[in-house]
């Protein structure tokens, strides 16, 4: 589905333990974003992390563009600061739902996993809408016993974005 994220044999018990750990990671990550604490969002990444949100048509065609494209934690931090302090957008609340976590690879280079995500958005006085449906392709490394994202590719199916995607997925 995404280059470099092929499924390889992983010991079943190790895969189960990793999956539980990744599910906890997702729960913390999404809680941070859903609480509006976007300035803590960069803490989930390594210094050299790559973070990209892109449409499935780009991913399938090998096109590199990102709706959001960051190739350093510093860029992620700049976006977080801008969203919190300088960007103009209507108030909104977001909820992330992550499921179908699957460990694909576990080795010295890190742990690779894919998951599905749904993003719900609620504006000031409108209905809650399904804002984006997509997949995470994640590479985790361990630092001080804790998982961090070295890469997160968010590949979305939702062809037409409803106006904009302000807050990260």
């Amino acid at each position: 589905m995404y280059p470099g994220y092929d499924m390889t044999p992983v010991d079943a018990r190790e895969a189960r333990e990793l999956r539980m750990e990744i599910e906890e990671f997702h729960a913390d990550y999404c809680w941070t974003l859903d609480c509006g604490d976007v300035e803590r969002w960069p803490d989930y990444f390594t210094d050299d992390a790559v973070y990209r949100i892109t449409a499935r048509e780009n991913a399938d065609a090998g096109l590199p563009v990102g709706l959001v494209y960051a190739d350093s934690k510093a860029m992620i931090r700049d976006r977080a600061f801008a969203l919190k302090h300088t960007q103009m957008y209507a108030p909104r609340s977001m909820q992330h739902f992550v499921s179908n976590v699957r460990v694909l690879q576990a080795g010295v280079a890190g742990v690779k996993a894919r998951s599905n995500y749904l993003l719900l958005q609620t504006l000031v006085d409108g209905p809650t809408t399904l804002h984006q449906a997509g997949r995470y392709y994640d590479t985790f490394v361990r630092a001080n016993g804790r998982l961090l994202l070295k890469e997160r590719q968010c590949v979305y199916d939702t062809v037409l974005i409803a106006n904009d995607l302000v807050l990260p997925v």
């Binding site: 780009n58 990102g66 959001v68 960051a70 860029m75 700049d78 600061f81 302090h85 409108g126 106006n163």
Partner: protein, 431 residues
């Protein structure tokens, strides 16, 4: 569901949205210094725009040639709201025809891009060549012994797809439903052509990818936004804090002779701190404490023979050409009713880019698009305008900055290009 349907007051529930042809469309007193809300809300006006503008004597963007380099390559596209297919013919020419089978009307091309030898409508397998000519009709003569089939006088050449006129200019493909439109260079005019050529002439593009979004606002608001240098220096904290476009620095709003096209241009000042310092008291979006942790993002690699570091071109009626520092792209506007438009973005670089330049363009791409630091603010503002004009009983907007001048201006605090566009619009629309 389009996001225009998620606002209290469903489309069609306000009086301003129900004005039919019996309404007297009278422009407010005061000429071009006021814009009546009905240009954004009336279904009758919207239908007239489709007829007179998008299907009228205009050149509509449909594709970049770099998207369809080889014979048989095709792309789904739109002229106004009308679906079309753009193909590269076996002789290398670009063809554009309606995405509607000549038989029963099925929209036969269902994939964004691809390569084919012919198009076959899935419903009854009528087949068309790369020019849109009808090639084959299954059982054209019926079945032996049973009859049926087409009448004897049925000629394939009378039943091809509806073909549009095509013009290509430096790798950009335009199409028109009308035979009465002037040649494309003349259509753009010399002032617009100049900055268009900076981006496209003698360049081979490398497509970097696509964004697509629905923008819940009238399609003209997007043109207005890019003919409005005033907003750029107020709304966008990235522009003002980092000196990318500052009132008092070298800026230009260039309009063509008709007023329909525009180039919003600015030159990044040599001394950003001095330029910003001189005017920062007027700009609430200015943030003294905002420093980038990763400064690579806003670096400007001088790659163009142009005094401008930014040119945003509005090419009537459906194309935006974006050159914002080193992030390049086009935006294709597809009108989606009076209250909504679809934006199709194609981001690109050049074939001569090395990998670091590609990454630089991708990093700088964070400025634009539906999650861009500038792009998302524009989308939010345009949505706010549409909701305001649609839902309130007040009936007009004010465009008085700069008095009653029209067209080009060197002043940033000026709405002359918006007035110039509406002068042209009123002539075209008979308003």
């Amino acid at each position: 569901m389009f996001s225009v349907n998620t606002v209290i007051g469903q489309p069609g529930s306000f009086a301003k949205e129900r004005l039919d042809e019996s309404h007297e469309y009278k422009w407010p007193e005061g000429g071009l210094q006021y814009i009546p809300d009905w240009v954004y809300t009336s279904p009758e006006i919207y239908q007239r725009e489709i007829r007179r503008i998008f299907h009228g004597p205009t050149w509509n963007f449909v594709a970049l040639e770099a998207e369809i380099p080889n014979p048989g390559d095709f792309k789904r596209s739109y002229v106004g709201p009308t679906p079309v297919v753009v193909t590269r013919d076996s002789d290398g020419a670009v063809r554009v025809f309606e995405n509607r089978c000549a038989h029963r009307g099925a929209e036969f091309c269902r994939t964004q891009r691809g390569n084919v030898k012919e198009f076959v409508c899935p419903y009854h397998q009528w087949s068309y060549d790369l020019q849109g000519n009808l090639q084959g009709v299954p059982f054209k003569r019926g079945v032996k012994g049973e009859g049926g089939g087409m009448p004897k006088d049925f000629r394939n050449e009378d039943h091809g797809l509806l073909k549009l006129d095509v013009s290509t200019l430096h790798g950009v493909v335009f199409a028109s439903f009308s035979k009465d439109v002037e040649p494309i260079e003349q259509y753009l005019g010399p002032r617009i052509l100049k900055d268009f050529e900076v981006v496209f002439k003698e360049r081979r593009l490398r497509i970097l990818g696509y964004y697509r979004n629905e923008l819940p606002g009238n399609w003209k608001l997007y043109h207005e936004n890019l003919k409005d240098p005033y907003h750029a220096t107020l709304l966008h904290s990235f522009l003002v804090t980092f000196g990318l476009m500052v009132a008092g620095s070298k800026n230009g709003m260039i309009a063509d002779a008709t007023g329909r096209h525009g180039t919003l241009a600015s030159a990044k000042p040599e001394d950003v701190a001095a330029a910003v310092g001189a005017v920062k008291g007027e700009m609430r979006a200015y943030r003294e404490d905002f420093k980038l942790a990763d400064g690579r993002f806003l670096q400007y690699v001088r790659e163009f023979d142009s005094p401008w570091s930014v040119t945003m071109q509005t090419i009537w009626p459906n194309l935006i050409v974006q050159r914002e520092l080193n992030t390049l792209g086009i935006r294709h506007i597809v009108p989606n009713g009076p209250h909504s438009m679809i934006m199709l973005w194609t981001m690109f670089g050049y074939e001569t880019d090395d990998e670091e330049m590609v990454r630089h363009r991708l990093r700088q791409g964070n400025l634009m698009g539906p999650s861009g630091f500038l792009g998302l603010e524009d989308n939010e503002a345009i949505k706010f305008v549409q909701e305001g004009v649609r839902r309130s009983p007040s009936d007009r907007g004010v465009v008085k900055l700069g008095g009653d001048t029209q067209g080009s201006t060197n002043a940033v605090i000026d709405e002359a290009a918006i007035r110039g566009m509406y002068a042209y619009y009123r002539r075209t629309m008979g308003l």
